[in-house]
Symmetry: C2
């Protein structure tokens, strides 16, 4: 029995999220099916980030155990022949049998895409949200700086979390603009439920002058979800990078 680690890329549009649901199409469900089709084994992959319905990933991580003799680095090619074209295995490799993708230190980067032109180009609509009102980007950057570092992010966490602690370490929040495309990149060692989407909703408040940058510091300190901005829609969110630190 060996444990295989998969780097998984997917278009979340057609999925009810990562986590297996009996009645619905999920990324985990499709992976389990593809592995069964390839190896004949009934498996349940363990995912690193259980992304929500509609959220995309360039690189999420998952492990599974197998008795197959397929070399670890060949699983990517073999599984891609069994998977639907909105899921792709970027690479695969063998890992120690006790390696668990949620029990090791990680660094993840999420990117949130906002289209700021007058109308949303149809071919971008599944991968960004639309905000055509003028945005004060510098104010958003000032506000973002308050979020960097180790803080209790309770204000930026949906109420239905099961997290033991709401303290997280945000390493960077970067706001970049390329013509009409605004990207908010958030890098950290872990994220609470809906945390990036709520951070972006709050930074947009600042961009729209609904709140000042300094009020974001107060929102953070309040540890109260009702103080922060709205949870942004899922299609703008992309799990863009994922590193194991051990």
């Amino acid at each position: 029995m060996v444990r295989i680690l998969l780097c998984v890329s997917y278009d979340g549009t057609g999925y009810c999220g990562w986590q297996f649901q009996k009645e619905h199409r999920t990324v985990e469900g499709e992976l389990n099916k593809a592995i069964a089709a390839l190896t004949g084994e009934e498996v349940e992959v363990i995912g690193a980030s259980r992304t929500d319905a509609g959220v995309h990933a360039l690189c999420n991580m998952a492990v599974f155990d197998t008795d197959s003799t397929i070399p670890g680095d060949r699983f990517s090619y073999a599984l891609n022949t069994k998977l639907p074209d909105d899921i792709r295995i970027v690479w695969s490799r063998e890992v120690p049998s006790d390696f668990h993708p949620r029990h090791v230190a990680t660094e993840k980067t999420y990117r949130y895409h906002i289209y700021t032109g007058e109308f949303m180009p149809p071919t971008k609509r599944l991968y960004a949200v639309h905000e055509s009102r003028p945005l004060d980007i510098e104010a958003m950057r000032t506000a973002a700086a308050y979020l960097i570092g180790e803080h209790d992010f309770k204000s930026f966490c949906s109420a239905d979390t099961s997290a033991v602690t709401t303290v997280r370490n945000v390493k960077n929040v970067e706001i970049t603009r390329d013509s009409d495309e605004l990207t908010v990149s958030v890098k950290g060692n872990g994220f609470l439920y809906n945390m990036v989407r709520i951070i972006v909703g709050t930074l947009l408040w600042v961009g729209l002058k609904v709140r000042t940058p300094e009020e974001v510091k107060e929102i953070l300190e309040a540890c109260d979800r009702t103080k922060a901005g709205p949870t942004m829609p899922p299609q703008g969110l992309m799990l863009a990078d994922f590193k194991f630190l051990e």
Copy 2:
């Protein structure tokens, strides 16, 4: 009665092409429905480029006649509230009542997108095709140069054309690479049925060393569809720019 010109952007994924079909979802059909919903008038828009199923557009053109008192430049906003989100009107304006988008001189640019990395990223799969074999880009550029100018493009036209003449003027063929994304841009005053997709299929033959650049000159001169490369799939194609020259 006034004639309104629309610049129409769409994601072709969900459509059986531009041209109206009673039983199928088409861009033209959706435009007719949206105009009817807005003005109460039964109209049939006249499109400039009748793109195929799965082909995208940043800017296609269409006209329709109306007795509505909505100012010409406001139709874009009004129609966008009635259209599905995979079609957007970029702008609208009133034109002379005899203006016909297929009977005036135009300059159109099509772009064909090819992803050359090892696997196709799921979020790009609807807007590009995948070619991971090594490509000789310089050879493709040499071949492309033979196509520029006024030629009989019969070799690059699907047999079921209704065109009176197969002579067209290609103003430019440009091949650009940005990391793993290869784009073939073809600019011209008009295009035969499937012409860009067959040009790209033939240039890919050259990139893969199935044909030499010089053989593309011979293919052009042969005026024989069976000599040219395959018709590439529709999803890589985008009508990217459209200018009326009069």
